[in-house]
């Protein structure tokens, strides 16, 4: 008897949602249209048409002269170098913080249940460590890598190094979060088996915990490296080295054929990295 009544109330509750949603959606469209200054005719007016034509005509043919290509070789390599060390630093930041931010490694779970049973002070201390690790990770993560790059350019000067730091910090936050999620998702049985054998905490961690998490770790880190290549290619737009800096220079000088060349290089580089990463992942 109870069942149909419940479903009825739910239905009447649900029936309001579409109207509300539609109204808000329409309002958002109208408001955003004005707020974002959308003006499609800009693209079709004489000026817009002219600059579009200038851009498209300027792009072809791409500048494939040996002179320019050899100039681009260094930024291309630099992009890969930035992404690589950015990822290394991200792992160096993300791994320890991810460990500290894993609830069942620090506060709860079989590693701690005997130790923290009757010790509220120690327990709250551990909890504070856990929370602050999580907080730092979320802080690193929520500021976009572009803003990090811009701030690091201020701190350490122009060049690839701020790019490395920006990727390291921003991706460190993301990696740390995912690492702790992987750690929290491990199977408990091997850990309990190890504990019942009398293994100490370090042994439980290295023989029970770590081997389970390692494949996921490696594959997610590889995925982040792929993302880092894309990111480091454009971080240069704010002065952090790599190909992005060249794109900006060429755009500013209206050398659109160079822009096209760089975009082609970017495409080839990303494709090569994806291929390489897929190969490595198949090995794992």
């Amino acid at each position: 008897m109870n069942q149909p009544a419940q479903s009825l109330t739910r239905q009447s509750h649900r029936s309001l949602f579409p109207y509300l949603f539609t109204a808000l959606f329409l309002f958002a469209i109208i408001d955003s249209w004005q707020r974002a200054g959308i003006d499609p005719k800009v693209l079709f007016e004489t000026k817009g048409r002219e600059s579009l034509w200038k851009f498209l005509a300027g792009m072809f043919p791409p500048d494939l002269s040996w002179n320019f290509l050899s100039l681009m070789l260094r930024p291309t390599l630099e992009t890969i170098q930035i992404s690589l060390w950015g990822t290394v630093i991200a792992v160096m930041i993300g791994f320890p913080l991810g460990l500290l931010g894993t609830n069942n490694l620090i506060v709860r779970g079989i590693l701690n249940e005997a130790e923290l049973q009757g010790a509220p002070l120690r327990r709250s201390l551990r909890y504070a460590i856990y929370l602050s690790a999580r907080g730092i990770l979320s802080l690193f993560r929520c500021i976009p890598e572009f803003v990090w790059a811009f701030m690091f350019v201020r701190a350490v000067g122009l060049g690839p190094f701020p790019g490395v730091l920006a990727i390291g910090v921003a991706y460190g936050g993301m990696l740390g979060k995912v690492y702790s999620e992987i750690f929290e998702g491990v199977n408990y049985r091997p850990l309990e088996a190890l504990q019942s054998l009398g293994a100490n905490k370090l042994q439980i961690f290295f023989y029970g915990w770590f081997p389970q998490a390692l494949p996921n770790f490696a594959s997610y880190t590889l995925y982040r490296w792929e993302c880092a290549v894309r990111a480091s290619a454009i971080l240069g737009l704010v002065g952090a080295g790599g190909l992005g800096q060249q794109i900006e220079i060429s755009m500013r000088m209206f050398n659109f054929n160079e822009v096209l060349t760089i975009l082609i290089i970017l495409f080839l580089m990303v494709a090569a990295v994806d291929y390489l990463s897929a190969k490595v992942r198949a090995l794992l």
Partner: protein
């Protein structure tokens, strides 16, 4: 007894030595790669972890506090946040329009192969003619997707001038390519059984599309759109660094003019905006799907 595997100790040793050698080779390759990158990227970790730079960072962090919460800055930050929201919203909407208008041509099973066309001769000019729109839709989508949003933003700033409109176009074009690819994959993965039963009742292709395919793919489409919107609000917050409006533009100005207290305010607003967007998106996902 047939010997299937060489298990003599000598053979085992050989295998072990070989795998150790292989691992060493990989390890040395990775280390070489890292060293090469370390030098190329001009990294000075020792400098970073030195006392001097630590103090410098501390000074910078101290300068960030307290955040500038004066009415003018708050108003500006609020305006920037609304603008960022507007850019991400309109950009995603534009992307959906681009993706939906091309995706029907960009999925193989709708345009030239699979169940819908199995009655037609495999080879022939008709099939080739059908492949043309596929290629004509697929390759532009790939190009849109390959060029990063920030580069699109630079291009559109040149084409339509500084401001949010360039940001909307940049997001719309890039995300259009991404959604086109994702939608196409969803369409190519549809379950064939409903289509087959519709076909058996004599439905034509348009009817099959609307009654057999669209109901299957719609939830996944919505889910992808919401996911890309979440991504876009993060991107829209930084598009301003290349002159495409939103909070990024305020951040750019604040960093360039050394107004660190204002910078912190804007960063707090980015955090709030992204968090709210995440909640809203997960709420809508629960409601709509």
């Amino acid at each position: 007894m047939v010997k299937t595997w060489d298990t003599t100790p000598a053979a085992k040793q050989r295998v072990a030595a070989k795998s150790i050698l292989k691992n060493l080779l990989i390890l040395s390759f990775v280390i070489g790669f890292l060293v090469w990158s370390y030098r190329g990227a001009g990294i000075q970790l020792s400098q970073l972890f030195s006392r001097d730079s630590f103090e410098q960072i501390l000074i910078y962090v101290k300068k960030l506090f307290p955040p500038d919460l004066s009415a003018v800055v708050l108003h500006e930050a609020l305006k920037g946040s609304m603008e960022t929201f507007a850019i991400s919203f309109m950009g995603t909407l534009m992307a959906v329009v681009i993706a939906l208008s091309t995706v029907l041509f960009a999925s193989r099973n709708l345009i030239y192969s699979g169940l819908l066309y199995e009655m037609e001769p495999k080879q022939g000019w008709k099939r080739t003619a059908r492949m043309l729109p596929y290629l004509a839709a697929k390759s532009p989508l790939n190009i849109l997707r390959t060029i990063p949003e920030m580069v699109w933003a630079l291009i559109f700033v040149f084409l339509v001038g500084l401001g949010s409109f360039a940001g909307v176009l940049a997001l719309g074009v890039h995300t259009g390519g991404v959604l086109g690819k994702l939608f196409g994959e969803v369409l190519e993965d549809v379950d064939n059984q409903p289509i087959e039963s519709l076909q058996a009742t004599g439905a034509n292709r348009l009817q099959i599309l609307f009654y057999g395919i669209v109901p299957q793919v719609l939830p996944q489409f919505i889910s992808y759109i919401l996911y890309r919107w979440e991504v876009n609000i993060r991107v829209a917050a930084v598009l301003g660094l290349v002159g495409a409006g939103g909070l990024g533009q305020r951040i750019h100005i604040a960093i360039s003019l050394f107004l660190e207290n204002q910078l912190l305010t804007f960063l707090i607003f980015i955090y709030i905006l992204v968090t709210v967007a995440d909640y809203l998106s997960s709420y809508l996902r629960r409601k709509l799907i």
